[in-house]
């Protein structure tokens, strides 16, 4: 847990992403991005890319490997598939974020819950539309970060989607170490506790 030094009123950019919506924006090297969990326990599925080169992107396994740990929090460096630091988490009042659980998709909803869940809205469709606007396609959508989501793993190797540990007003903040593009799907999932069964808006701020 680490509080931010930023002053909210001084943010140069603010936007609210409704549940089920996507958002993307270039964050310049040295700028700070905050994701703010307005109402609590809302998963913000997030991908990062090097600005101008979508082939260099956030890599969950490179990030886990380099830090020797599964969970993201203040001090975690978000690593690309080429081993470079995209961003570093510099403040976090939630304490733990997931990068094993990936995004929900209409296809995986059929596998996880029931074949009849296929029509329900899902993060991957939001990622696809955002990525198409960014000039990419389906191969550019890789394993993401789930800010504010709690996916505990036990020493025996069990993994679960547990009740959230976030709460209204908690936030995570990261400083870009190169020019990056952030792509967020504010998760619409209604079938598991990742959004507290009630998807709500998140706010993004940039300094």
């Amino acid at each position: 847990m680490k509080e931010s030094e930023q002053i909210v009123e001084a943010a140069g950019y603010k936007s609210v992403i409704g549940a089920g919506d996507y958002w993307w924006k270039e964050i310049k090297a040295g700028e700070v991005l905050r994701i703010h969990d307005l109402e609590g326990n809302q998963a913000a599925d997030t991908l990062f890319y090097r600005a101008g080169d979508l082939a260099e992107r956030y890599s969950a396994s490179d990030t886990i490997k380099k830090q020797g740990g599964l969970y993201l929090s203040a001090g975690s460096k978000l690593i690309s598939n080429r081993g470079n630091v995209l961003l570093e988490i510099i403040a976090d009042t939630c304490g733990r974020h997931d990068t094993l659980g990936g995004a929900c998709s209409r296809e995986s909803n059929t596998m996880r819950y029931a074949l009849e869940k296929e029509p329900m809205h899902a993060c991957r469709d939001s990622f696809i539309r955002g990525m198409q606007e960014m000039g990419g396609g389906i191969v550019d959508i890789t394993c993401n970060i789930n800010f504010f989501m709690n996916v505990p793993v036990t020493p025996a190797g069990e993994l679960s989607f547990a009740d959230g540990i976030s709460a209204p007003g908690r936030y995570v903040e990261m400083r870009a170490e190169m020019d990056v593009i952030a792509l967020i799907s504010n998760c619409p999932q209604l079938n598991n506790p990742c959004n507290g069964w009630n998807p709500t808006p998140v706010e993004v701020l940039v300094w």
């Binding site: 396994s61 886990i64 740990g69 598939n81 094993l100 659980g101 890789t142 394993c143």
Partner: protein, 240 residues
Amino acid sequence: MKRIYETNLTGAGMWSKIIGRGKILKLTDLEGGANVGMMLYNANERTERYNMPDTLKGQQVFYLRQGICLHTDMGRLIGSIVEDSVGWHDTVCGTSDAGEVKAKYGELSYQEAHNDWYRSGKDCFLIELAKWGMGEKDWMPNLNFFSKAVTDEKGALSYVAGNSKAGDSVSVRLEMDALVVVNTCQHPLSPGGGYVSTPVLLEVFEGDPVLEDDECLNSHPENKRAFRNTEDYHQLGFSR
């Protein structure tokens, strides 16, 4: 079962082929301590690929073993682990890169060592992927057969040495025609102290039809639904 193919992979070797639906790929750790990095793609639609998150969350597991299915990003299955004498295979830690190999083991060039030179898992993946018209965008968190990394309650990972012994094996039944890309570079969290090169026997067998009491089909209801999605895909697209 009839064996239709075999090859010996040298340490830090690489290999890629298309293996048809229903066939069984068997890997044997010949000397103990091997690691086989693997990525799997639908041979006909290569944007469909092995998906680590869906595999883990679909079966509420952090590692792979007999009875576990390998899920794609399309709600379908690309493989099933039908035999395994090891009990724990990693799919979270990814693969080594050139900088890590140099930092851990030092530099040994082809000029100095010929085929015993030091290579990274990432380089091997990218080389084999290129031969199928694929590249960096197609690489995703991969499988690491024979290797084990465990977590503590706070999420700190540690590598478990000695997970696989000489003669240990694991067999994957392909649930769709699959492009299989492998290399035998060390696990990325394996300790330094010497670049160990461990050989692996790779065999392919004709498989048997999946029966109703199949262990992988029945191990989780999620697998049953993913099998159904995979069956629908084949029924709609192909006559076989």
